[in-house]
C-alpha cells in the first residue's frame, strides 16, 4: 500500500439468502482520484457501497481507511470517518431553508439557545457563491430544482469535511444544464483533494469524469483500468461479459392468430399513439431506454392508469375503458418489476401470497375458503415453477431471494391461468440461475397458448426469448422486427434516436 492510497477494500464478500452478491472484492482507492464504478443492474455496485457506508456489514473481508482498520457499524460512523454519500434520493428537508439544511445537525447557537441565523446565512452564502448555485440561503428547499438540491447536498458533505464523496447515479433526475454544472463541480472537488467514487451505468459520463474505472459483474470485480488505457467498447465488454450466444431455453410452439389489438393508445406525453397486435402463443419483447414510456404503456394496457384515448380489442371484444378488474376478469395478468410495492405481501407466508389472486375461485359454501384446496393448488405451482421454499406455510415472502420472490409472483398469476401476460422487467434483481428458470416458465406459458408482452431493458434476454421485438422511444413505438432480423446495434440506435 503506497501513501497515496486512502481506502483499501480487502476480500469483501457478501451474500443474501445463499445468493452471492459480492465475491472476494479487493479494491484500492487513491487519494484525490475520481474512480468510476460501473456494472449492470445487480452487479453488486450498491451492495459494495452500502458496505462502505456502514449500511450493511460484509460477510468476510476488511476495510482500511487512511491506514487504519475501518469497521463502520452504521451510516453515522462512515459519516464521521469522512465518507459522504450523494444518493439519488436526497436527504434534504424540503420545509427548511437552504442554510438550515446545510447546518441542521449542528446549528450555531447564541444567547438563550437561539440559532444564529446571521452567521449561518453568511457561511451558507460563501458556499453558494463558490459553487455558483442560483439560490439564496433563505430559500426554502421545496422551491428548488433537483440539481440545486444536489449541490446543497454536496455542500453539506464538504461542511462536514468529507474526504471521500460517493455519487450514486447522480444524474438520473437532472436536466442537461444541471448535469453540466455537476460535471464542473466534481473536478473542482477533486482539485480540493477530495476523493470521489462515481457510480453510473452511463459509460460516456464515466469516461468523461473519471481517472480510473472499476468494472463489476455478477459480484466479481472484473478489473480496474486507467481511463487512458481502455476503450469504451472494452469496458462494455467487461460489464456484459458473456457473449451473446448464451443459451436461452427454447420450446416447440405454434403461433396462432391475432388475439390482442391495441389501437392509438394515448396517455399524456408518456404514451403516444401506440398501436400493435399480439398473437396467441407469441412472446413479444418491448425494448426502450429509461423514460421511453414502456412501464407507462404496460400500466395503460392493464388499466392501472387510465388512457386518454384509444382502444384495445381482446378476444374479439372492444374496450375503451380498461380497469385492472376488467383485465383480470378477461385473463390478463400484470407482473411488475417492483415486487415489494405491487406484487408481494412481504410479511405474509409464501402460501398466502400464492393463493391470494385465486381466493375467489377456491371458495366453497358460505364463502369459506378450503385450506385443503389452497394447499393443493400452492403445492402444484411451487413444484411446477421450482420455487425454493422450505415451508410454504411458515416462510414469509420477504425471507426469499429475489429470484424466488419473483417466482412466487409468477405462481400467483399462473394459478389464475391467464391467457395474456404483461411483464415489466420480471427478471430485474434476479440471479442468473433463476432467470433461466423464469425464461423457461414464460416459454411454457406461451406454448400453452398464452400471449406474453415482455418488457425489459436487457436487450440480450429479449433477443434470446422473444419472437418479435418492438422498440419504444419517447412514448412511441419506433421499430418492430421479427427474430430473423435481430441486430443489437439497430435496436439500440432506434431506442436512442427515435424515428430514423
Amino acid at each position: 500500500m503506497n501513501e497515496e492510497t486512502i481506502l483499501v477494500l480487502k476480500d469483501i464478500s457478501k451474500s443474501f439468502f445463499g445468493a452471492m452478491v459480492l465475491d472476494n472484492i479487493s479494491l484500492e482507492v487513491r487519494k484525490g482520484e475520481i474512480l468510476g464504478l460501473v456494472g449492470e443492474n445487480g452487479a453488486g455496485k450498491s451492495t459494495l457501497m452500502n458496505i462502505l457506508g456502514g449500511v450493511l456489514p460484509p460477510d468476510t473481508g476488511s476495510m482500511e481507511l487512511k491506514g487504519h482498520a475501518f469497521t463502520p457499524a452504521n451510516p453515522r460512523d462512515a459519516d464521521k470517518a469522512g465518507i459522504a454519500f450523494i444518493h439519488q434520493e436526497l436527504s434534504l428537508f424540503s420545509n427548511l431553508t437552504v442554510a438550515e439544511n446545510m447546518f441542521i445537525d449542528d446549528l450555531p447557537t447564541g444567547v438563550l439557545w437561539s440559532v444564529q441565523f446571521d452567521k449561518m446565512r453568511t457561511e451558507a452564502r460563501e458556499y453558494i457563491e463558490k459553487f455558483g448555485v442560483h439560490t439564496t440561503p433563505d430559500t426554502k428547499v421545496e422551491t428548488l430544482s433537483m440539481g440545486i438540491r444536489q449541490t446543497i447536498e454536496i455542500t453539506k458533505a464538504l461542511i462536514k469535511n468529507a474526504e471521500i464523496i460517493i455519487f450514486d447515479e447522480p444524474t438520473t433526475s437532472l436536466s442537461q444544464t444541471e448535469k453540466d454544472n455537476l460535471f464542473k463541480i466534481i473536478p473542482q472537488l477533486k482539485d480540493q483533494g477530495v476523493t470521489i467514487i462515481y457510480i453510473s451505468h452511463i459509460i460516456e459520463d464515466v469516461f468523461h469524469l473519471c481517472d480510473r474505472i472499476a468494472v463489476l459483474r455478477d459480484g466479481y470485480l472484473v478489473g480496474v483500468e486507467e481511463k487512458d488505457q481502455v476503450g469504451k467498447n472494452q469496458v462494455i465488454k467487461m460489464m456484459v461479459g458473456r457473449e451473446l450466444n448464451q443459451v436461452y431455453p427454447t420450446v416447440e410452439k405454434t403461433i396462432g392468430d391475432v388475439i390482442y389489438r391495441a389501437r392509438n393508445i394515448q396517455r399524456g406525453t408518456a404514451v403516444r399513439d401506440i398501436s400493435f397486435d399480439l398473437r396467441v402463443g407469441e412472446i413479444v419483447g418491448l425494448f426502450g431506454l429509461m423514460g421511453a414510456g414502456r412501464t407507462e404503456l404496460a400500466r395503460c394496457l392493464f388499466g392501472a392508469d387510465p388512457i386518454d384515448s384509444g382502444e384495445i380489442e381482446y378476444k374479439g371484444k372492444r374496450h375503451r375503458k380498461i380497469s385492472p378488474e376488467l383485465s383480470i376478469k378477461e385473463g390478463v395478468s400484470f407482473v411488475t418489476e417492483d415486487r415489494r410495492q405491487e406484487g408481494l405481501l412481504m410479511p405474509k407466508t409464501v402460501k398466502e401470497n400464492i393463493v391470494l389472486a385465486k381466493l375467489n375461485d377456491l371458495q366453497e359454501r358460505l364463502g369459506m375458503v378450503s385450506s385443503k384446496r389452497e394447499d393443493q393448488e400452492a403445492d402444484k405451482v411451487i413444484k411446477e415453477l421450482n420455487v425454493k421454499v422450505k415451508d410454504k406455510n411458515k416462510q414469509a415472502a420477504k425471507n426469499l431471494s429475489g429470484g424466488n420472490q419473483q417466482k412466487v409472483v409468477l405462481s400467483k398469476w399462473i394459478l389464475k391461468e391467464p391467457s395474456m401476460f404483461v411483464m415489466d422487467e420480471p427478471t430485474r434483481g434476479v440471479d442468473v440461475g433463476s432467470k433461466y428458470e423464469i425464461y423457461t416458465i414464460i416459454n411454457n406459458m406461451a406454448k400453452n397458448g398464452a400471449t406474453v408482452l415482455f418488457i425489459s431493458s436487457e436487450m440480450e434476454e429479449l433477443m434470446g426469448l422473444c419472437d418479435r421485438i418492438m422498440v419504444m422511444s419517447k412514448g412511441k413505438i419506433v421499430a418492430e422486427m421479427p427474430k430473423s432480423e435481430y441486430n443489437q446495434e439497430k435496436i439500440i440506435s432506434y431506442a436512442i434516436g427515435g424515428v430514423n
Binding site: 436527504s91 428537508f93 446549528l107 447557537t109 438563550l112 384515448s309
Partner: protein
Amino acid sequence: MESVATAPTFSAKKLIPLLQYGVYIIFVVLAIFFGVMNHRFATVNNGLLLLQQAAPIGIAVIGMTFVLIVAGLDLSVAQNMYLSAVLIAIAMDSMRKAGTLGTVWSFVFIFGIALTTGAVIGTINGVLVARWKIVPFLATLAMQGIARGVALIASHSKVFFVPELGPISNGRWLGFPVVTIILFALIFIFDYILRRTTFGRQLMAIGNDSASAQKIGINVNRNVFFVYLICGVLAGLAGLLAAGQGGAIAVYFHQGDEFLIISSAVLGGISLFGGKGSVFPGALIGIILVGTIVNGMTMMNASPYAYTIVRGAIIFLAVMVDSINYKGELR
C-alpha cells in the same frame, strides 16, 4: 400526433389558492354572521371574553402543535386535563379542610400538581412513542383511557367545586384576562422555541423526513420524547385553568375536546402530515377561529346538540383543508 389530450385535473386543487386564505375567509364570514345576529358580538368586551374562554384550550393547542409538527398525535390531552383537574380539586378539598387554601404556597402547590400530572402523562406517551415505537394514535388512545380511568376512580365520579381558582381563570390584570396573558406569554415562548432554537428547527426536520433526520445524526427519539412531554405539561396546565374557568369539575369535563384541540391546530395551518406550521400565527389563528365559533354560538343561544354538529364540521373542514394542501413527498 402532437395533440395531447388535456386530462381533467382534480377540481379541488383549483381551490388551493382560496384554501390558503380559507381560515381567514371563514373567520371574516363568521364574524359578520355573528355580528349581524347579535349586536353585542362585535364589541371589545366580547372580544376579550372570547380570548379568555379560548385560553385554556388554546394552551393545549400549543402543545398539540409541537406534536403535530413531528407528524405525531396526542389523543390523551383532554383526559390529561380532566385528571389534572381532579387531582387539583382533591388537593384543594383537603387544603380547604386544613384551612391552608388561599396562601401563596397553596397555589404554587396546585400549579405543581397540574404540571406534574401533565408531565407524567407526557413522559409515558413520549416513552411509548419515541422509545417503544408504538403508533402515536394507539399509544395516546391507551393513555386517554388510562388517564380517564384513574381520574374517575380518584374522584369517585363526584363533582368538585373550585371557586378559589376563579381569580386566576376569570380575573383580569390591567384590564386583560389573566388566562389570556398566560396564553400569549406561552405563545411567545413556544414560538421562539419552534422558530429560533436548534430543538425547534430539528423538530421541523424530523416532521419533514424522520428517516433522513436520523441518518444525518439528529437525535430523533429524544426530540420526539420532549415533544410529548411538552404537550403533556401544557395539557396539565390547561386542565387547571379550565377547571378554574368553569368552577366545577364533573365527569364530562372537556370530554372529547382532544379533537377540538387537534382541529384548532390543523385549522391554524399545522399539517397532520408533519413538518409544517407555526405557533404564531398558526396555532393562534386556529385558537381564535374555534373560539369565535364557540363564543358566537353561545351568544345565539344555540342548542347544546348543535355544538356537536359544528364540532364535527370543524374537524371535517380542518382535515379536508390539510389533505388538499398536502402535496405529498416534496423531495
